[in-house]
Amino acid sequence: MRGIIPFVAGAAIALSAGWAGFPYAIYKSRPQPVDFSHRVHAEKAGAKCEDCHAFRNDGTFAGIPSLDKCTGCHAAAMGTTAAEKNFIDQYVTPQREPQWAAYARQPENVFFSHIAHVKLGQVKCETCHGDQGSTDKLPRYQEDRISGYSRDIWGTAGRPGMTMDNCVDCHRKQKLEREHSCLECHK
């Protein structure tokens, strides 16, 4: 009977490490370069998602706006907050692009068409990106240490992730055909 104690102890330690420690250890995280508030931009400036995250004329998705877009309004400081000062000093004045970490950036072997989902599939931004558009602070970017994938697509653990399973799950739920059509995404 005594012989089982080390076995149980080992199992218990592995279980707790595997369930409690591993999910954190596997990710590394970093803050976004600029303290950006979607809420302020949406509420005060009345900006809509597509004002900054626009489709180009050719239908491709421009993704995160470049500094040019920001300086359209922030050519000089708009307010006195530390975040605004940091943004102006670090990026606007030296004309340096902020190195944003894109939560939803697809790996190189995947082709994801935003316009097909948004215009054709009528999927709302919030369906994938949650309440990101109304948050006050950008969450830390979490990246899988091995695969290099972003943990999820709106910066909060437990939300839809970046793996193929996540895509397939959603397509299955929507009863969409072609869920196994490899070349749709892996062109």
Partner: protein
């Protein structure tokens, strides 16, 4: 409590079992699989805005109009503008990444050595530029450069003096020209194809022969393009100056075949007779058929600045005295003609300095002391000489789609600098001269518009040319635009109706220099030489990876023999041998191919041997 080995093993066993019930091992497997799909070795597709850029393909003189799909600054797919591209053109955006790409070269050393050699050049020695693709603006710079140095020579293969208009032709007799295989502008040739009946006369079943309406197996005379006597006989048969049976004896074709050929050329006009290089005898035959000004006419050239006209003339390499070239600079930066090294080498002085400008480590660089790396299409800025089926003068720029890597050398700047020509932007000067002439039309690819040049400002004209456009002379510009700006310049308009060259207005009566020209032929040269396609780019080092290394087509250093001829010379497939003609011999590698006619030795590219008999001697 003491720790025993047994206890430790039990602990590890428990840990292992416990771990299996956590996400960790499964996640590690998944993550490793994901990592393996994206590890550093895999190509990274370009990201960025998708744009269309326009240019002209400079891989051959067809100069097809190209629409490049670019992601950011990187072209990722090429397509024709209202017309197709050939497989080479379609995949040309991969050329900059060719494994044999030359990335650096001894530029300073080469410049110093060339300057020294020019300074020490003896009175009977020459400084020469070998331009493998004449007819470009760069060619004019070379000619001007050679005019400004003592004993300068501009060496280049001959350019065709005529242009053909397939759209106007009802019957086309092709004497071994690879008409449907890259001879003209593919999009235009195929657009016109339904309008003419094609009779292909050649000894082998080439792709053009296979696609022709009629294939005449005409293995005598073998050097079809050079056989003036046979063509003259055909011309006289057409004019009724010679009986069909006499013509049959001279040409070696059956009398009934001559009869039907003559009837077809006369009755189903306008007719056009072509051979690979539009030899004088073929032009004369066309004149005889009344085709001059309808399906064939003089080749037109875009205007050049007046000050350029004091330029060195083209000199044939064969005309240069042996051992007289002290400095030779070879421009093989764009695919062009190939001259066997043996024919160049014998012209070099013992202490000659040879420099080659090339994007690849192959080619003449193997023989030159200095090999300088150049940009390659689609990185290089160059213009494109008119294609054989360009019925109007045209000016097309191959504008770069990507920036060339650092360290590339411009052969034009190097040669102009070595000759002491003041630095200038020759392409821009030529564009300005064209604009100043005020003729013709600017056809822009992005919107398919054609605008008379006189309505365009010089600056806009230059900008448009660099953004994908072509200048086409005269009213033909509008026809080209109407035809969809495709690729070539063949319009429905008649050709320029100038008088045919005097020496061509009568049937050619030149003595037959052909090989094997008579039935008897020189007995010690039992084989007759047939040159394969003159589509020079196919024999360029550029495409060696695809065609030559896989031996799909004859490389310039290869010949092909029928198995019986190979066997009678004791030569096996792949063996090295000497190809001997009355002009000399050179070493070749032999491909034994049963599709070659017995008695024929098939060579590629050069036609200087095509007029002679040959023998192949095992080494």
């Amino acid at each position: 409590m003491t720790t025993t080995r047994r206890g430790l093993l039990q602990f590890l066993g428990g840990s292992a079992v416990g771990a299996l019930f956590t996400p960790a091992p499964w996640r590690l497997i998944t993550d490793t699989a994901l990592w393996s799909e994206n590890w550093p070795g895999i190509p990274r597709p370009a990201r960025g805005e998708i744009r269309a850029k326009f240019t002209n393909c400079s891989l051959c003189t067809a100069g097809c109009a190209v629409r490049a799909r670019s992601v950011g600054d990187q072209p990722v797919a090429l397509a024709g503008v209202a017309g197709g591209l050939c497989p080479f053109g379609l995949t040309a955006h991969h050329l900059p990444y060719h494994p044999a790409r030359l990335k650096q070269g001894p530029v300073k050393e080469a410049a110093a050595a060339v300057a020294d050699a020019i300074a020490q050049c003896g009175p009977s020695e020459h400084v020469a530029v070998l331009d493998l693709r004449p007819g470009r603006t760069a060619s004019w710079t070379y000619r001007r450069a050679m005019a400004s140095v003592h004993n300068g020579l501009y060496l280049a293969p001959p350019e065709p003096t005529v242009a053909v208009n397939l759209r106007n032709a009802k019957t086309v007799l092709s004497l071994g020209a690879p008409l449907l295989d890259g001879w003209g502008t593919p999009a235009d040739v195929f657009a016109a194809r339904d309008g003419f009946r094609l009779i292909q006369a050649e000894p082998i079943e080439s792709r053009t022969a296979a696609l022709a309406d009629q294939w005449i197996v005409w293995d005598r005379p073998p050097g079809l393009s050079a056989d003036a006597t046979s063509l003259s006989a055909l011309a006289q048969a057409i004019a009724g100056e010679m009986t069909v049976s006499e013509a049959a004896t001279i040409t070696g074709l059956p009398a009934d075949q001559i009869q039907s050929l003559v009837k077809e050329l006369k009755d189903n006009g306008p007719a056009l007779v072509v051979d690979s290089e539009m030899s004088p005898a073929v032009v004369a035959l066309n004149v005889r058929l009344g085709s001059w000004g309808r399906t064939i006419g003089p080749r037109q050239e875009a205007p050049v600045p007046e000050s350029w006209k004091k330029a060195a003339p083209r000199t044939d390499l064969a005309a240069v005295p042996d051992r007289s070239i002290r400095v030779l600079l070879i421009d093989e930066s764009t695919p062009g003609e190939y001259l066997p090294w043996e024919s160049i080498e014998k012209k070099l002085a013992a202490n000659a300095v040879v420099g080659a400008f090339a994007p690849w480590t192959q080619g003449y660089g193997r023989h030159a002391q200095y090999v300088l790396p150049t940009a390659v299409y689609p990185e290089a800025l160059d213009d494109i000489p008119p294609a054989i089926d360009s019925v109007a003068a045209a000016f097309r720029i191959a504008a770069p789609l990507v920036a060339p890597p650092a360290g590339m050398v411009s052969p034009v700047e190097f040669i102009a600098g070595a000759a002491g020509l003041p630095a200038s932007d020759a392409l821009r000067e030529r564009a300005d001269a064209i604009h100043k002439a005020g003729r013709g039309t600017l056809v822009t690819y992005a919107d398919g518009k054609s605008i008379p040049v006189k309505d365009v400002k010089p600056e806009d004209f230059w900008k448009s040319l660099n953004a994908g456009a072509r200048w086409v002379d005269g009213a033909l510009g509008a026809a080209v635009a109407a035809a969809g700006v495709a690729s070539g310049l063949g319009g429905a308009d008649p050709l320029v109706r100038s008088r045919p060259p005097g020496r061509l207005s009568a049937p050619a009566q030149q003595a037959d220099e052909g090989v094997g020209s008579g039935p008897g032929g020189p007995p010690h040269y039992p084989l007759t030489i047939v040159t394969e396609s003159r589509a020079a780019f196919l024999s360029s080092p550029l495409l060696s990876q695809i065609y030559q290394e896989s031996n799909l087509r004859l490389a310039p250093n290869r010949i092909a023999l029928h198995p019986t001829d190979a066997a009678s010379s004791g030569i096996a497939d792949g063996a090295h041998a000497f190809l001997e003609t009355r002009d000399g011999k050179r070493e070749v590698q032999v491909t034994v191919d049963s599709s070659v006619r017995p008695g024929v030795v098939l060579v590629v590219g050069q036609t200087d041997t095509a007029s002679s008999g040959a023998k192949v001697v095992r080494i």
